[in-house]
């Protein structure tokens, strides 16, 4: 019978009618978003709304990391410092040689009247948020279009390629990781120079697609970006081959790889912003990686 909270003659729509109305709204949302990409404004709005909240909620883990770092043993730090000093001395020699090479290279390029590589400018960014990776593996960074980011830029960390900026909001941006399914990266095998296409296969793994069965590839080979797509700079480490097998059903090798970048570990990354240079005539531009 009618309880105090319930009208005896309901004037409101019943739950089923309301469900149908909201379902219609939901389906139209899906269609508008997939077909017409018309909801990017809503995405930006949510990102602006959530940015301060996420900045704030990052604090507890930062404090925990600070405390953990504070109690690191003194001896450990001293060892690390000695190792770093030795490393720095070694790198300084390499840097001198590299400077010499850069100078020589510029001269040679000037002689050949070739366009030099576009200058790289980097934007430091930190991991802000990570969502469930059910459909695509993405992370959110704390730098957005104020820092000059736009979609398509490569993102790297100290050990390799992390991914590509896929959406940019005011104050934050989304990066699709290299291990995300359907995310393709043109690579070449460091040992043999053979080019190929690396694709994410989900769960943090990658695979090298369309390698003919006679290709020379072994577990342990490193894959570097080939640079032929003009998106990623050439020579950035991407992955290491972890297993090679020949399935009976496919004309291609099955090559499994593990990404080199700390996709689930790094908290600080670099976004490579290419500075467009003066357009020189592109005729007669032999590239080391051209087919």
């Amino acid at each position: 019978m009618a309880t105090p909270g319930q009208l005896m003659f309901a004037r409101r729509l019943g739950p089923t009618a309301r469900l149908l109305i909201w379902l219609a709204v939901g389906v139209s949302c899906v269609v508008v978003d997939v077909r017409y990409h018309a909801l990017d404004g809503l995405r930006s709005g949510f990102s602006v709304l959530l940015l301060p909240v996420r900045e704030m909620m990052r604090a507890p883990s930062d404090v925990a990391a600070e405390l953990g770092g504070f109690f690191t043993r003194h001896r450990l730090l001293q060892n690390e410092r000695d190792a770093l000093l030795a490393e720095r001395a070694r790198l300084a020699i390499g840097a001198n040689a590299a400077q010499e090479l850069v100078r020589e290279n510029t001269e040679l390029r000037a002689l050949l009247q070739m366009q030099t590589r576009p200058g790289q400018q980097v934007v430091h960014a930190a991991l802000l948020y990570q969502g469930h990776d059910w459909f695509a593996q993405r992370i959110t960074l704390d730098q957005g279009d104020q820092a000059g980011l736009h979609s398509g830029l490569p993102v790297v960390d100290a050990s390799g390629l992390v991914g590509q900026v896929s959406r940019v909001y005011p104050g934050s941006s989304e990066v699709t990781l290299v291990s995300s399914p359907e995310q393709l990266t043109p690579v070449f095998v460091e040992r043999t120079g053979q080019r190929g296409l690396a694709a994410g296969s989900g769960r943090g793994q990658m695979e090298l697609r369309y390698m003919p069965t006679h290709a020379d590839i072994r577990p342990g080979d490193r894959l570097l970006t080939s640079g032929i797509d003009r998106v990623y700079p050439a020579g950035v480490p991407v992955a290491r081959v972890s297993g090679v097998s020949r399935p009976q059903s496919s004309p291609y090798l099955r090559v499994e790889c593990v990404p080199l970048a700390g996709l689930d570990r790094s908290r600080a990354v670099l976004v490579l912003v290419a500075v467009p240079q003066l357009a020189l005539p592109q005729a007669a531009r032999p590239r080391a990686t051209s087919p």
Partner: protein
Amino acid sequence: MSTAPQTIGGWRRILASLTLALLLEQLPWSGWALALRPDFVLVGVLFWVLHQPARIGFGVAFFVGLLADFQQGEVFGQHAIAYVIGVYLVLFLRLRLLQFDPLRQAAQLFPILFAVQLIVLLVGWLAVKPPTGLAVLLPALSNTLLWLVIAGWLRLWHGKGLQDRA
């Protein structure tokens, strides 16, 4: 006869709990904790739909669903549709659900929470692309556990049976 327990859940408490759920989701989760992270906002909304259907309903569920879509969805509308269907199922089984103790209530909620995750999976699959695995169904388990914890805590807090106090 179980009547609507109007004694718990003023506006202040509803807003505070939903805000807390939202904040918990913004923590930087990673690794296994992320894969098993319960959907705090969904459980919060369904809880209030069960106990305060006049205040929290389809509209709120749809809006927080859009928010979840921004965070972890492939397309806008994916979680919104799933949450709205979850609300409908809870409303449909409401009088029945209110009669059970926390453990049985959680057991009855499991199919609903599972259906919600399944709809998220299906809508994303149909609209955009196949998912990377069935990990999307994992939060149904953790959501059920979270529900058990909340219902059990509420039982302890309010003494025996909410519906007796109405």
